[in-house]
């Protein structure tokens, strides 16, 4: 290895600067959150009298318990259902290679390029027509559907690389297709299923547009959706807003 000391120094300094760029915003809002409610504090100035009570206040005014309940409910509806049906579809397309598998895959991958904003208008009117607008199902149903392109693509990528010998051996032992799926391939797919589950949980928690459009009551939205409403109400109270942002 021939890396000069000067280069080591410059390279590491460069990385440190970038880390500072990433971290400073977090530090700044944390400090701001400790300033007295209603004041307009300076950037990185530690308050004379840290107001830890701001967090309690933000917790109360944002109706945090209701929010946590609502977001948790949405995550717990969306993620398991999306995991099960996308794993099943990925299994059929990647491993069983059902007739038309390529067409199906293309159809799902097409959805990867569709921005949410492109299809939000008809989703709104469809939900009104179906009577699920502003109900607990208003966010989960379209969200599950919107995850399908990525989720099916992801699971198919796993199943398509599984050796066929495993399935053949199970078949010889008389396993039905469901046995093959549930008792052999799902346990083997634990790693991709887990990472997909984590990704979809974060995306759901942070989903904003669907929550904003499809549910009127902020406390029945996702966390991000509620934060948007919180910002609307407390835009002028910077310390409180920062405290709310940190909590969420």
């Amino acid at each position: 290895m021939k890396i000069g000391r000067g280069e080591l120094f410059v390279g590491r300094a460069f990385l440190v600067v970038l880390m500072a760029f990433t971290i400073l915003p977090f530090i700044s809002i944390f400090i701001t959150a400790l300033h007295p409610s209603g004041t307009v504090p300076g950037g990185l100035e530690w308050p004379a009298d840290p107001q830890w009570g701001n967090f309690v206040e933000a917790f109360k005014v944002s109706q945090m318990p209701a929010l946590v309940m609502s977001s948790t409910f949405i995550v717990l509806t969306v993620v398991p259902v999306a995991l099960i049906i996308s794993t099943m579809a990925g299994f059929a397309i990647g491993l069983l290679r059902v007739r038309g598998a390529n067409v199906l895959l293309f159809l799902f991958v097409l959805g990867l390029t569709l921005p949410f904003t492109g299809i939000i208008i008809p989703i709104y009117y469809l939900e009104r027509a179906m009577g699920i607008y502003n109900t607990p199902l208003a966010i989960p149903l379209p969200l599950i559907a919107l995850y399908m392109p990525f989720a099916v693509f992801w699971m198919r990528a796993h199943f398509v690389n599984m050796p066929t010998e495993i399935s053949e051996a199970a078949r010889v032992d008389g396993a039905t297709t469901w046995d093959l799926f549930w008792r052999i391939h799902v346990p083997l797919a634990q790693a991709p299923i887990t990472s997909l589950g984590i990704l979809m949980s974060i995306w759901t928690w942070n989903q904003f547009l669907l929550a904003l459009v499809l549910v009127e009551d902020p406390t029945k939205r996702t966390m991000a959706g509620a934060l948007g409403a919180f910002q609307g109400h407390y835009a002028t109270d910077v310390p409180l807003l920062c405290a709310g942002t940190i909590l969420i």
Partner: protein, 312 residues
């Protein structure tokens, strides 16, 4: 094919039909596995996609009757400066959300590989990835505060002696869109770095070692090994970030709501405003169709980049 002459004719036939029904049953069961995903995807994604196109040919306020207007909505989008302007804004954001994070991410990933391969590199990756975990809305709020008149950005500028250029960045006609772009860099740099870093770890280390024994500089290493061998990862990064840029909504909605004037209005936000506050559903749909079309147009050359790579 199955028929064997010296056997009774009945056996192969029945065996054939048996196999056929088995295969057919299996195909049927296979389709049952796809059905739930396909059904919900068809209702909430494919159908809305088609409906957006249908709506775009009508004048509709969302409740009253729909009037067929042909291509008039599209003409309006291209003629109204505040609508076509959103598309130019979107392309300006591509530079900030896509080109800079991917380019900078490449540099960071290769610098990590060269001078910080151990635990320090791990820390850098984790720290840079942090903004990716929080909601975009939260990122918008945080930066909305940092860019404000008494925010951290201006404090730092004053500290390094640039006090005279301080301003309310997100309220400035010339600077607001670029300020939004900086938020995009902050959010997406970590994502690109982690993905590209993973790509580098798959490159045979012997390549780097032999280059270094020959005394290759960082730049030579970067241009001759890192970039050419990461085409696949670069194309994934570009795809994700370009979509994030063209379809940006959360950050802009929270940080500037399109203002001042229309200087930070992007198609995603304009679609939302037209459809849900101005009730011009047809016009909003036409803009949405143009947006989806743009995404596909921009993605085609990026996909070709990775295709060329896999063909080699």
């Amino acid at each position: 094919m199955m028929t064997v002459d010296n056997r009774p004719a009945a056996l192969p036939v029945s065996r054939q039909t048996q196999l056929n029904t088995l295969a057919r049953r299996e195909a049927f069961v296979g389709w049952l596995f796809v059905l739930p995903a396909l059904l919900i995807y068809a209702v909430f994604v494919l159908l809305p996609f088609l409906l957006t196109i249908v709506y775009s040919f009508f004048k509709w306020n969302g409740t009253g009757p729909m009037t067929w207007v042909g291509l008039k909505n599209y003409v309006t989008v291209f003629q109204a400066p505040n609508l076509i302007g959103t598309i130019f804004n979107a392309f300006w954001l591509v530079v900030w959300f896509s080109f800079i994070p991917v380019g900078l991410g490449l540099v960071v990933a290769s610098v990590i590989n060269r001078v910080a391969s151990g635990r320090f590199g791990e820390i850098v990756r984790t720290v840079l990835f942090l903004p990716q975990v929080i909601a975009l809305v939260a990122a918008g709020i945080i930066w909305g505060w940092l860019f404000s008149l008494s925010g951290l950005v201006n404090e730092i500028l004053k500290f390094i002696g640039l006090g005279e250029i301080t301003r309310a960045w997100l309220g400035d006609f010339d600077w607001a869109l670029s300020a939004v772009g900086i938020i995009g860099i902050w959010v997406l740099l970590g994502f690109c770095t982690v993905l590209l870093s993973t790509g580098i770890s798959k490159i045979d280390p012997a390549l780097y070692e032999s280059a270094r024994i020959d005394g290759a500089s960082w730049l030579t290493e970067f241009l001759t090994i890192t970039v050419p061998l990461l085409k696949q990862e670069i194309s994934v990064c570009l795809t994700v970030t370009v979509i994030a840029a063209l379809a940006a909504f959360d950050i802009v909605y929270v940080a500037t709501a399109g203002g001042p004037g229309n200087s930070t209005a992007v198609p995603g936000l304009q679609v939302y405003i037209l459809a849900f506050t101005q009730r011009a559903v047809g016009l909003a749909s036409a803009l949405a169709v143009i947006l989806m079309f743009l995404v596909i147009i921009v993605l085609i050359p990026i996909q070709r980049l990775s295709r060329v790579e896999s063909a080699q």
